[in-house]
Amino acid sequence: MRIIAALDVTRDSTGLISIATRMAVDIKAELATLLVEDIDLLRLAELPFAREIDLLSATEAPFTREVVEHTLHASSERLRTLLARDVESLPLLWSCEVVRGQYIAAALGAAGEMDMVLLNRSSRRLLSAGWNPALRPRTVVPAAPVWAFYDGSPAGERVLEMARHAARLGGAPLIVLLGGEATDEARIREQASTLLSGDRARFVKTAAVDMAAMAGAVSREGCSLLLLPRAGVPPGERAFRQLLEQIGCPVMLVP
């Protein structure tokens, strides 16, 4: 069993690293980390009028290929060091590879048929919590829920199994998105309950793998990890990309 953890080197990936290592140790899986250098940035940098607006100073600066290359390299090195530090003391078979490409395609392209894929590409927020101490969580809030999609299929069973592990690891509540036809809801729910073997969970009805609907539900209630069947996510689908950007938490695709 292998987990492919795909990290966009230019974005905050600490949450993803944490989940990936803990899950890999827990289920005794091999961890393959993929440091993805976004090729779109390089393409953008080659446009003649490419300018970058700095987030902190709001100043405008030329966005050249040299700048992007340098930034990508430095970010990759930083992430590799960070990973090595976190992983070296764990009983874990681990590898790290740097690839260049479009984020989702690169991640799915590197994954074998039976690999699980962990992705995280939340969009940048202007008022990120780290900027302002007053916006930090004031109290120890309960862990955000783990969401899992289950439609009664064998892939759904594996999703549910992984979701149980993740919820237990994080001490987080489990919310099961029930897919399938509305008429089968009771049956699917019954199956899910049986599979959960007494683990508590809340059930929410959804239609198939509806990215927009899931994004809305997850965003409203918060999420620490969303697990989906890999087969339900066509690579390059715009809706999935928007889901990743919107929900702000890692997504695990289970074969």
Partner: protein, 805 residues
């Protein structure tokens, strides 16, 4: 007329135990005050009752007089009737932490306030946690965060939507955002695709991107403003919640201390501080960093009460005696603790001094100790001058260290200070320290002795009883009391006085009890007192015994029999380690023709002191004026203390020196069985001296060791008879006629006793009668004078040469 020896009852004035109505001190009450010290006690009472600055007291007198005990007893009585002074505590000054505030509290309430605020601190964290974990708070936090998120996402989404409508994507870059043209699927165009667009389209895209960039910059410039707004909302919310939480704890305290405005003010400041610093109190602040200033947990420190003076359970004011009056022990101090390699302090480390504890009451200090402690005297004066106790580190005052320091608010001083010390220090301070008189206006001069009368002996017996009780000594029998009284007269060196040195009496009683123990006496007896006195003597008299031994062996040459011209036994007193003893000293005189000078060999050898030299000058003037006054004094005389190798001071040997000189002039031997003490004036009158008892006993011991002949004795000034308190063996020898004490009033009295010849008085013709001592002396002087004139004449003739008529 030859003086007669004194009868035994004049040699020792005994206290008659039969006149006491008690059997032992058990029957006696304590004295209300030490007898004979009425003047000092009046001064003490005056100082106590006299209001106003500077009416502090200096109790002066030798140590061991019971000054301290007496003063403490009186002050304790006075203090008990005074109101209990205030409690004092230090609290944090929230406006100026370098100057901690002093709070004055009703006596006993400091403990309550301290406990209340300790409890407040204990409750505060829990209360804050509960408030900030409440559903209400979480809900409002969530609302603020959601508002912030919405504004964030709305701003970006609006911009992204606007750009999307023009086939332009808002792309997230490593450090911010950028805009890029996209195809119909939303994918960013490659440079090649972009180049394939027509010129007009490229211009359009560039123009739109430029406009979008400006809009984005505008949005980003708004971000700090949003930060501040969000921050303010959180702060406002936190203040509201903290105010509610702390209010629930403090409102009870506010009601409890409603009559104490200073405490209320402090509680209000605590309330404001909690509200303003709630993040730090909840451990949410960055100040927990290692590099942050001290006070990782302010609530543990800043709201605490440092109770430095606690009067709980106290009745009346206090009398404090500071045994080690160092600067810090008097004034209090600010302690430090090491933190991150430096020394830090705060109001919780303020420690009180004796001045704090005694405030509102009395502080007794040993002035010698105060003066020997660096800067303690200056501190005391400064504090009295300012009327405030200002806790200030000496190290900081002297700039010895540059550690973190504080300047606590001074506390008003209301204390009577009683300095206890000897007279020398009082007079030195009075003369040399101009401020001394301003701060210590009252002197209580304790007497060394008190008059010995029947009434006073009764009171003294009660004093002995009191001292015995205070010392934990068993009762003292009547005879023993009488013996103690006699000893006190001896200590006073006067049969008509009693020593007021209570320390010596207490020591004697303790030592007597030891002997009573050994003898299994239920009460201390006269024998026990005698045994204690003898033991004291034995412990102290090594040197005197060695001197006596050397006299007996002939090393120190003292004659006690026969007669010798120009030699006499003088008497000297030594004081070694508080032990007084007398010894005979050989004084010799020589005369020859000369020019009228009397050479004091001690002076010439620089062994004679000034007073001794004065005595020799006086006797030489007596010689010149008393005999052959019409002629030039034509002798050269010398006097010396034989076998004396140490400085000689005092004039008590001047009578002996004069007698030796006159013996040499008259060539009449002096009885060596007699010793002489006394000073003499220019008219030949004998004047009193000190240490008469020790001197007599010193000569008696020499004679006794050689065997008393019945011809031996001591000549003393008649004025010293009242001082006689001689040892019992001396008195017994005198009673048996084996030893004599002769009082003399004039030189003639002494000469007659010493030579056995009549001195003689000038007759109407101005001359001394034939066959008298004075006649022989005068004739010898006239012979010297005639010889001198003859020599002068011959010398003049030799100088002028032979005459030719």
């Amino acid at each position: 007329m030859t003086a007669k020896s004194l009868p035994p009852d004049r040699l020792y004035t005994a206290c008659d135990p039969q006149r006491f109505s008690f059997d032992s001190t058990q029957d006696l009450q304590d004295v209300e005050a030490v007898p004979g010290q009425e003047r000092a006690l009046d001064a003490l009472q005056f100082a106590i009752r006299m209001p106003g600055k500077g009416y502090n007291l200096f109790a002066l007198g030798p140590s061991g007089m019971g000054k301290f005990t007496t003063i403490r007893q009186i002050l304790a009585r006075e203090a008990a009737s005074r109101p209990v002074p205030s409690d004092w505590c230090y609290v944090h000054n929230f406006k100026d932490p370098r100057h901690p505030r002093a709070l004055e509290l009703p006596p006993g309430s400091g403990t309550q306030l301290k406990a209340d605020l300790d409890q407040f601190i204990e409750d505060l964290r829990g209360t804050l946690s509960a408030a900030f974990e409440s559903e209400h708070y979480q809900s409002r936090v969530h609302q603020i965060e959601e508002d912030a998120k919405k504004r964030d996402s709305d701003a970006i989404n609006e911009l992204a939507e606007e750009s999307r409508e023009q086939n332009i994507a808002l792309v997230q870059t490593p450090h911010g955002f950028a805009f890029a043209p996209t195809d119909s699927e939303g994918e960013v165009l490659s440079p090649e695709q972009f180049e394939k667009l027509d010129e007009k389209e490229r211009k359009r895209i560039e123009k739109h991107i430029s406009e979008l960039q400006q809009k984005l910059q505008k949005v980003l410039r708004q971000v700090p403003v949003w930060h501040r707004e969000s921050h303010e909302k959180f702060k406002k919310l936190n203040r509201e919640v903290a105010g509610w939480a702390v209010g629930s704890l403090l409102d009870t305290l506010v009601e409890r201390y409603t009559n104490l405005p200073d405490v209320l003010q402090h509680l209000e400041q605590v309330r404001q501080h909690v509200i303003e610093n709630v993040d730090e109190l909840r451990g949410e602040s960055d100040s927990s960093s290692l590099l942050a200033p001290r006070q990782a947990s302010p609530a543990d420190e800043l709201y605490r009460v440092n109770l430095i003076v606690d009067r709980a359970g106290q009745k009346g004011a206090l009398v404090i005696y500071e045994d080690l009056p160092t600067y810090a022990n008097l004034n209090g101090r600010c302690e430090h603790r090491a933190q991150m390699g430096t020394l830090v302090t705060d109001f919780t480390m303020i420690r009180p001094g004796a001045l704090h504890r005694a405030n509102g009451g009395y502080l007794i200090l040993d002035v010698r100790k105060v003066l020997t402690q660096p800067f303690a005297w200056e501190l005391l004066k400064r504090t009295l001058r300012s009327g405030q106790i200002r806790v200030e580190s000496l190290e900081r005052t002297l700039s010895l260290i540059s550690a973190d320091s504080i300047e606590p608010q001074p506390i008003p001083l209301d204390v009577k200070i009683v300095l206890v010390g000897d007279r020398l220090l009082y007079y030195l301070l009075y003369e040399l320290d101009p401020e001394f008189q301003d701060h210590f206006k009252v002197a209580a001069d304790f007497e060394d002795t008190l008059s010995r009368s029947d009434d006073n002996e009764e009171v003294y017996a009660r004093l002995i009883a009191m001292l015995a009780r205070h010392a934990g000594v068993r009762s003292v029998g009547r005879d023993a009391v009488a013996r103690v009284i006699d000893h006190c007269a001896r200590l006073a060196g006067d049969a008509e006085k009693l020593s007021a040195h209570l320390g010596n009496i207490t020591d004697l009683l303790r030592e007597a009890e030891h002997h009573a123990d050994l003898a299994a006496h239920p009460a201390i007896t006269r024998d026990d007192v005698e045994a204690a006195l003898n033991a004291q003597l034995q412990r102290s008299n090594r040197i005197s015994r060695r001197i006596q031994e050397e006299i007996q062996r002939g090393t120190l040459m003292i004659a006690t029999e026969g007669g010798v011209v120009g030699e006499i036994n003088g008497l000297a007193v030594h004081v070694l380690g508080g032990f007084h003893f007398g010894r005979p000293v050989r004084i010799t005189a020589t005369v020859r023709l000369g020019e009228g000078e009397v050479v004091d060999i001690e002076r010439e050898a620089e062994l004679g002191g000034e007073i001794h030299s004065k005595g020799v000058m006086i006797l030489s003037r007596f010689l010149a004026s008393h005999y052959a006054a019409g002629q030039m004094l034509s002798i050269s005389a010398s006097v010396v203390f034989e076998q004396s190798y140490e400085p000689v001071e005092g004039d008590s040997a001047s009578l002996a020196e004069l007698c030796a000189l006159l013996s040499a002039l008259a060539e009449i031997p002096i009885r060596q069985g007699l010793a002489v003490t006394g000073s003499v004036n220019q008219h030949g009158t004998v004047q009193p001296i000190g240490g008469v008892n020790e001197k007599i006993e010193g000569f008696f011991d020499v004679c006794h060791a050689r065997g008393l002949t019945g011809d031996q004795g001591v000549l003393i000034p008649a004025a010293n008879v009242k001082h006689l308190m001689l040892r019992s063996d001396v008195v017994e020898a005198a009673a048996d006629g084996r030893f004599h004490v002769y009082p003399v009033e004039t030189v003639d009295d002494a000469l007659e006793l010493l030579t056995g010849e009549v001195a003689g008085e000038r007759g109407e013709d101005g001359s001394f009668p034939d066959d008298t001592l004075n006649r022989r002396i005068e004739e010898r002087l006239l012979d010297f004078s005639a010889s001198r004139e003859r020599f002068v004449r011959q010398a003049a003739n030799m100088k002028s040469g032979p005459h030719h008529d």
